[in-house]
Amino acid sequence: MKPIVMEAIDVVKALGEGAGQVLALKGVSVSLRGGELTLLMGPSGSGKTTLLSVLGCMLSPTAGLVRISGRTITGLRAEELAKVRRQNIGFIFQSYHLFPTLTAQENARLPLDVRGERSLAALDKAQQALISVGLSHKFNSFPRDLSGGEQQRVAIARAVVGAPSVVLADEPTAALDKENGLAIMGVLADIAKDSARAVFVVTHDPRIEPFADRILRIEDGRIVADEARTKGLN
């Protein structure tokens, strides 16, 4: 059995206040295991992004527990949550969110810098991360000089450079064409081969289902299906 690196237990999240309050998550339980790529699929407004924000330690659940590497993070203050994020979680965003004024190498080095790792070893890690996503020749390129696929690769390098136990990806292929989207999923699937790391991808895109080890389906704030998969890549 693969180890659980992150789990949410009976998580409820209410958004808004008073009469306008809505329950975005209604008792969601999710376990992310090392060495697995899990997809979260569901229609718009089903609670995907809210669940991602809770798992990503950006939103505190209204009720329920979130654990990462065995540590309960429910109730932590903003700075403590930021520390949990920088030590345990790598993020990949739909629109990359690269820093336009930093080179690929500097973008990849950023998570290490915010951790206080500023030695030559940090530089080597950033370069290795870029090499691992196929961008060894783009170290000094700025995002404006990179294609969408290359920018997302830089974002992946940035997400994995600090060796996080969880990588959370929000619609990582939504802004890419099919070829680039599949290539990016290939990179994420490679990352998920590490048994100490779970990869969790929120997506609408059914074309990437073959990359998943598990697929969770969410509707109206509840997990309605949890399917284990055998990867069907050609």
């Binding site: 991602l52 994020r85 969110h97 810098d113």
Partner: protein, 397 residues
Amino acid sequence: MHDTAHKPDIRKGRRKILRIPLILILASRNLFHDRIRFVATIVGIVFSVVLVTVQLGLYVSCERMITAAINQARAALWIVPSNAKSFEDTSMLDGPERFQALAIPGVTAVVPLVTGYATWRKPDGGTTIVLAVGFDPDKDGFQPWNLVKGSTDDLITPNGVIVDRSYSNRLGVSDIGQQAEVTGHKVRVVGLTDHIRSFTTAPFVFTTRERARGFVRAPTNSSNTYYLVQVSPGANIAAIRAELNRNLTDAEAITPQEFRARSLSQWLYGTGAGAALIGGAILGVIVGTVIVAQTLYSSTKDHLNEFATLRAIGSSAFYIHQVILCQAFLSALIGFSIAAVLGLVIVRATANGSLPVVMTPMLTLGLFALTVAMCTLSAISAIIKVTRIDPAVVFNR
């Protein structure tokens, strides 16, 4: 997945990163990214710092002018007419003050000075008011400073006076040997000083005590304005002063520091000139702070998405504050450097004017600290803005 198609350019990147910390890279590129805004920021800082430099430079210049004569005198104590407000306050002493001072143990010498306003008549007609300063050229207590031509010894020649060459137009004399008239007495220029400016705009005219008495129409041949009290090394100045003040009537003994403070109070604060200069400097700081705050805030707003991303990937609030403070510091450094060059040009351009702008190393350091403080203060609104960022917004953008 490893890329082997291209040779990694590791050395080039390493060189670049080792030179500059990432926070500084991010701050500088954020700053230079929008060039128009950057130029506006720098213009604001330069305008503000130059304004403050000129105001404070003039303030220091006035201070120096007002206290120059007191600073040049060699005295542990000054005996002045009671309640004398400044060096230019020209009441006269005609009593036994000098001997009272000499009678106190520890007092080694008491050097008299005569000062007073007089009318200078130019050789080619026209008059101007001058401040006559009479001293004993053979005594070590008070001598004109910045003497560039002639000698104080020449004052013993008939009608000898020393004037400052920066007042040559006002006085109608520009070189040794030229003649004029002071309160009906013929005078001949025997020496020229440089940059001895007067805050009251009445040029100093240095001469012997006896001649000065004539210029200022002193009541008697023994009238003096001040006595410079010199004491032996290690003497208890406070005790001597107390003893003097017990015995003096219509006069008082004060320290040079007190005399400086009184003079500054009279001319800088009593006239409102100091308040105007300080007020101008404060206005400069306020204008600069507002301009920098506005541009930093707008820059931060433009980069809010990046700061939210930083927060999302786990940076502490302090890390982000450091980026903004770095931007503020860089703005301060660049703005101050340009302003310092402009300030230097102004200092040079006004050096021979009637009211030169003065820069001292301490003033320069103080202005730099003020610029940094101003820019740091300006960063507060931007810092408050980023502190409120919700990292979860990165999922919605």
